[in-house]
Symmetry: C2
Subunit: 196 residues, 2 copies
DNA sequence: TCCACCCGTTCGGCTTGACGAACGGGCACC
DNA sequence: GGTGCCCGTTCGTCAAGCCGAACGGGTGGA
């Protein structure tokens, strides 16, 4: 996952780390939702003692328990087993892990590798210079990925936008105010949003 | 998940459904990886009896057990708790559900709306005419989305590729042979792959 | 002050997941 | 045919998750 648990490296994440991760994730989500431990336990249909122990890190819950918590919290399962996420990231054209094909004149740059369990919307953008397009924050946990195709643009968090040339890539939290402003005519871009 | 566990609907997925889902997912992934039950249990460090019972649907494993299996199988956690998935789709520049901004000269076309719980990799492609780049099938359930930025290209399933002009979009199964062939110099594209 | 309420933690019990060992079946090899 | 190996399943034991109940602490109202 994306968080990946990804590769088959057995040492990838110590089990003990897993449960503390879950413990903190549950508490974080619960407090973020403004729920008391008692109330969450009630909604999830589990004993509050169970939840208390989980949050204290004496864990290893069953999937059903964890699932019930995810449902009650209204968050994806993955949110509870995946670590917090990074911030703004820029990959300029020519930068990044590029792989070349020996078959053809073809190169591919991996810009963002699969955070798991995300909902993903894919947009094509056409814009021209003018007032910037401001976006109010989306749902918590949202990330936006922008690849500029043609033209020039300013994109990213409102307080620290990034200037992009064709081929440039930027990712930033979508759950904070952000903007997209074309700086040249015929500016096109691809935007991928993932709401966890 | 979109499966979602998403909303706080307690009845969202019967617990029994969850475990049969996990059961079939484990078996599917294991057989897909060409592993015997015994071998997988050994790699995951769990008793094969445990695994046997899990695959038979008498389950509710602990997260540590499930995590160990995910690691041993080299698949994201989510793969084990999410259900299986559509076909080729083309959206030409100017087609599709386009929304215009009143703030700025800006339009966004929704190309692909969030199938949930997918792993998503985002690539930028630079290619020139020559031999097409052929791809062997990826993992089952994979979908590729291509948006052409500049140039011209032929992309899609090997047996029915689609010619793309700048701004065009195509999505197709990534678990069948497919290709990407630049038809003009300086062809650039954005490719998003989602492996469930 | 007293009481009622809700918070989160702790404590026995009951249930159940995880384990190792034993079992039957299929296959290759001698 | 006999033997050895690995497959996947089943069984009995043990540990641990989950539960309800009881507990102490904090807060607001009568």
């Amino acid at each position: 996952m994306g968080t990946g648990n990804g590769p088959a490296d057995p040492a990838e994440r110590p089990a003990s780390g897993l449960i503390t991760l879950i413990a903190t994730a549950i508490r974080r989500e619960r407090e973020g939702a403004g729920l008391s431990l008692t109330e969450l336990a009630r909604r999830a249909g589990i004993a509050k003692s169970t939840l208390s122990q989980l949050e204290s890190g004496s864990g290893n819950p069953s999937v059903e328990t964890l699932w019930a918590l995810g449902v009650a919290l209204g968050v994806p399962f993955s949110r509870l087993v995946d670590p917090p996420r990074p911030r703004i990231r820029v990959v300029r054209r020519g930068e990044g892990p590029v792989t070349h094909s020996d078959q053809a004149d073809y190169s591919a740059a991996l810009l963002a590798a699969g955070a798991t369990h995300t909902r993903r919307d894919l947009y094509r953008i056409d814009a021209s210079p003018g007032r910037p397009r401001l976006s109010e924050p989306h749902l918590p946990g949202t990330t936006e990925h922008v690849v500029l195709c043609t033209g020039r643009a300013l994109a990213g968090p409102t307080e620290e936008p990034v200037e992009l040339d064709p081929g440039d890539y930027v990712a930033y939290p979508g759950d904070a105010p952000h903007l997209f402003e074309a700086l040249a005519p015929d500016t096109t871009a691809v935007i991928v949003t993932d709401h966890i």
